[in-house]
Amino acid sequence: MKNDAIISAHELKKYYPVTKGTFFSRTVGYVKAVDSISFKIKSGETLGLVGESGCGKSTTANVMLGLESPTSGQIMFDGRDITRFSRQERFDFRGNIQAVFQDPFRSLNPRKKVKQIISEPLFIHKVSSRKEISFRIIQLLDLVGFDPHQAGLYPHEFSGGQRQRIAIARALALNPRVIILDEPVSALDVSIQAQILNLLIDLQERLHLTYLIISHDLAVVEYVSTHIGVMYLGHLVERAPSEALYNNPIHPYTRALLDSVPVADPEDIKEITLEGEVPSPLNPPTGCAFHPRCPLCEPRCSKETPFMREVAPEHAAACHVCG
């Protein structure tokens, strides 16, 4: 059972209706923020989702967290479809998936003390007595490297990195099995980023956590992830183990993305440089969503939608031309 996927998404879709009129509104179109993406994460592994801004990474996180309901598709957790949960089931389930968000200055309530922030999930789920909760707070603070006496302070008394550690401690409060990290380090200084990433990796080993990390920073994703998914305009275009993706990228978009990482040696030739803008998700291109910007575009790319094809074990890409 250990190698089974702990959480997986099947044909997950999230369309936002575009409406006209204020009171008696009608739908005139859809923004396809997430269009039919599928992935699996095994217990103890980390899936990194990368892509440009607006490609649907954060929407995926919101849907996975149950903050928004998907238009269609399933999210399976331990064999149960969490999108079809009733209110009570969802409430009971909350502790299994927790989240850490991008901006630690916005993700902690400025009016609450650290101990209140960390213990809130415990109080809501009434998991333990008051005395146990204060022990748990100390334990959690210790886990992310704080002294117990800092529990009485307010978030504004901490730096960005420290705040993010508080956010992590809160996410750990209910002993989750999966943590969704939505750009966990992009608001932090580079020197702090490594510290937070190391903490995350350390916690993963100690608590056997499973991560879904979302970032636009390839270096961050490479450092943390065991598997990587590349998203473009709501589609998952390539999915592979971390090493395979970096050594042998298949999809032209992945290649362009990897080539865009600044390198120390300016002699290195960039193979693919993308031009143009990401098309509007309101009116996505026909066929392969990437074809207007693709250097390897063929006639059929604008007609047929490519599906994910396995090119190597666990390595799949959605491209007609490559692989």
Binding site: T22, F23, L65, G66, L67, F91, R94, G95, I97, Q98, A99, F101, Q102, D103, R106, S107, L108, N109, P110, R111, K112, K113, K115, E120, P121, I124, H125, S134, I138, D147, P148, H149, A151, G152, L153, Y154, H156, E157, A167, R170, L174
Partner: protein
């Protein structure tokens, strides 16, 4: 310039031994003096873990608005102890003592410190009892429409969509109704009284609070900590009460304290116009209205109620300003 040294040592007893210095400031008399407290505001963090290390030893600067608190203190003192401190019955006078000037004027007696009105009633006693009416009506109004406005504003901002639209259009509609006409109407039907004023303004005032609270909660509900609260399983009600409301309570307090001053003036105005409380009530505005006719030879009949109104309004406004700063955790450390 250090003036005094006193503060609390929480761990041992209430014996005073920490540092508290007061800095003098040119405008200190109006806006308050700055004082450094040590260990007063992180008392709770000590209580949480008694054996832990000392919490951060930062200096906490709090300014104290002596004038505002003094005015407010005087006001509440008269409200609470009106029966004890007023030297005479505010409603009964002897016509033989009619329009006596204040004690220090020629012809005044020490029996009536601030003089008497044309019916021989003691002005000081009437002022003292009038504070009760002012407080009752102003707090009644604020509590009524403040609560209504905050609840509707929270629901509106938090739910969004159609609910939001309906509540806000209702607020627009409501603001377009002239309050004074409604007051005339209610006064005509039920008779002018304190109750009529409270009900009228209670009904009329909510859109003002509702809009501001809605705007604040609209921006707050998009914050990540609200999303995280959802992820943790908070119900909407809990998010509203424990995440959104604490972050707008500042605004509400500022609004309320500024408003309370305004309402005291408004009640005085209404009484002056004859729409508010009726004689023989000792409302300050009514005293002004009654004293107006005698202003040429009995100046004390209008001056002292006027001063009383100023003191009460100033007290509420200055204290409100101070509370806003004190309640903001970010302001504590500077």
């Amino acid at each position: 310039m250090p003036i005094s040294t006193l503060a609390f040592d929480i761990n041992k007893s209430w014996r005073l031994n920490a540092n508290y210095t007061v800095q003098e400031n040119v405008f200190g008399f109006l806006y308050g003096y700055e004082a450094d407290f040590q260990g007063l505001f992180n008392r709770k963090s000590y209580m949480f873990l008694k054996k832990g290390k000392k919490s951060s030893e930062k200096k906490l600067r709090v300014r104290i608005p002596y004038l505002g608190l003094g005015c407010l203190g005087l006001f509440f003192f008269t409200v609470i102890f009106a029966n004890v401190i007023s030297p005479h019955d505010p409603y009964e006078g002897d016509l033989a003592d009619s329009t006596l000037p204040p004690a220090w004027e020629e012809g005044g007696t020490t029996r009536f410190l601030l003089g008497t009105d044309m019916l021989g009633r003691d002005v000081l006693s009437r002022l003292i009892h009038g504070s009760r009416i002012s407080l009752l009506i102003s707090v009644g109004c604020i509590a009524f429409y403040g609560t209504l406005g905050v609840i509707l504003g929270l629901i509106s901002g938090f739910s969004g969509g159609r609910t939001d639209m309906i509540i806000m259009r209702l607020a627009d509609l409501w603001s377009s109704l002239p309050g004074i006409i409604l007051l005339f109407m209610l006064a005509a039907v039920y008779g002018p009284s304190a109750k009529t004023i409270i009900i009228t303004f209670g009904i009329m005032g909510w859109p003002y609070y509702g809009r501001i609270v809605r705007g604040e909660s609209l921006s707050l509900k998009e914050r990540d900590f609200v999303r995280l609260a959802r992820v943790a399983g908070c119900s909407n009600l809990r998010i509203m009460v424990s995440h959104v409301f604490p972050n707008i309570v500042n605004t509400v307090i500022i609004l309320a304290t500024i408003d309370i001053g305004g309402i005291i003036v408004l009640i005085a105005t209404l009484s002056f116009l004859g729409l508010g409380t009726q004689p023989p009530s000792c409302d300050w505005g009514l005293m002004l209205a009654e004293g107006r006719q005698y202003i040429t030879y009995a100046w004390w009949l209008v001056t002292f109620p006027g001063i009383a109104i100023v003191v009460a309004v100033l007290g509420f406004n200055l204290t409100g300003d101070w509370l806003r700063e004190l309640l903001d955790p970010k302001q504590k450390l500077r």
